[in-house]
Symmetry: D2
Subunit: 132 residues, 4 copies
Amino acid sequence: MAKERVVDVDLRWGDSDAFAHVNNVVFFRLLEEARARVIPTEGPGSTILSAGLVVAEQQLKYTAPLHYRPEPIQVGMRVDHIGGSSFRLACRVFDSTSGDVFAEGFVSLVAYDFGLGSPRKLSDDERSWLTA
Amino acid sequence: MAKERVVDVDLRWGDSDAFAHVNNVVFFRLLEEARARVIPTEGPGSTILSAGLVVAEQQLKYTAPLHYRPEPIQVGMRVDHIGGSSFRLACRVFDSTSGDVFAEGFVSLVAYDFGLGSPRKLSDDERSWLTA
Amino acid sequence: MAKERVVDVDLRWGDSDAFAHVNNVVFFRLLEEARARVIPTEGPGSTILSAGLVVAEQQLKYTAPLHYRPEPIQVGMRVDHIGGSSFRLACRVFDSTSGDVFAEGFVSLVAYDFGLGSPRKLSDDERSWLTA
Amino acid sequence: MAKERVVDVDLRWGDSDAFAHVNNVVFFRLLEEARARVIPTEGPGSTILSAGLVVAEQQLKYTAPLHYRPEPIQVGMRVDHIGGSSFRLACRVFDSTSGDVFAEGFVSLVAYDFGLGSPRKLSDDERSWLTA
């Protein structure tokens, strides 16, 4: 995932706020959904999600208003940093047809052992998947 | 729309609550999204949405737990009553592959003139679309 | 809870949709929140929530538009039916100062044993709390 | 608002995700709600909200898990930068009793003229309110 992975995510009419724009908070929901559809739950590296992953930090810069439409928007994600127990995804919400970018930023995630209640080291399989 | 129209609607990981089921409230969001994707915004009958439509009443009976999955679920909608300024959609949330039904009920909608602040009569074009 | 219990619930600016009204779906969230603040988690009858409770059916009729405001709205709940493993709450969302009612309906809840994956009988303590 | 303003914001049971923590996305909703309750809508400086305000960028670092509870949490906001048409709020989500901090970060907001579709200069009244 060193190269950008692009995921289609559907908007919902209810994502709009009283300004009739997709609400700024919802963009983080779109990022979450894109992760849920890409981060592996099967095969080598799968423990990265099933063993627990928590959001440590996230940031978005909004660059254009997004309006509801039935066609999905695209979320791009690329691993741009890997630490001992964490990694960072550079993210953008965009329209792959027009090239318009609505928001960009990053999400930092920590591999977490919910049983122990503490971060855990990324395994070799997980690192392989992240750097592939 | 006298015959059932079936719409694919994507779930989101964030639709689940602390019981790890798609939350009961979210089912009404799925119905809303299905309406947004079906009720016409162009052509004869299009005024039904663009001229304003408000939810007057809705009900759901939950028949099976629904868990997040990347594949869409299906929402079925069928007009089962038309009044002077309103109509009712019989609705169900189901899996078209397995046949499992997760919830069923109805939504009553009123054609509304936001300018006047009052219900308005359904036009002939709108009735045609609803009974087609 | 045979007499109406009234709970203050805060609205959020983000509850409004593109029509700048509190969205119809959100009303069910307000009912859920009112239940979370009233249904006991400690003392006799407490198992009603901690042992599991699922929404079996719910319905709302919307009677007036609700706009965001920093002051809480009121949710009224009254047990109007008790079965072997279930009970029903008559509900309304209203403004206790003006007397305006925004929505009314009901929620049917089933005591559920998540371990067994099946409904369970209401205990005497739970019945006492429901009928008090 | 050069000094921290602290606002009580109620959590909702439905804010929790499948991990039974208040979901990371929801924290931005809490910040939004705190702004809605503090940024003036009446008196000198009031145009800052009524004339339009959009979120340009926001960031949060999560420092401890937050669990649903009926008592409100606290959101602290302090203006730490003012530009020609924008300002930045340093934010934190915390418990004023225990001192526990759950998240901290910032939100950058731009005064926006929706009629013209472009940013607008902050007025003297607005600057006075922001620096007070």
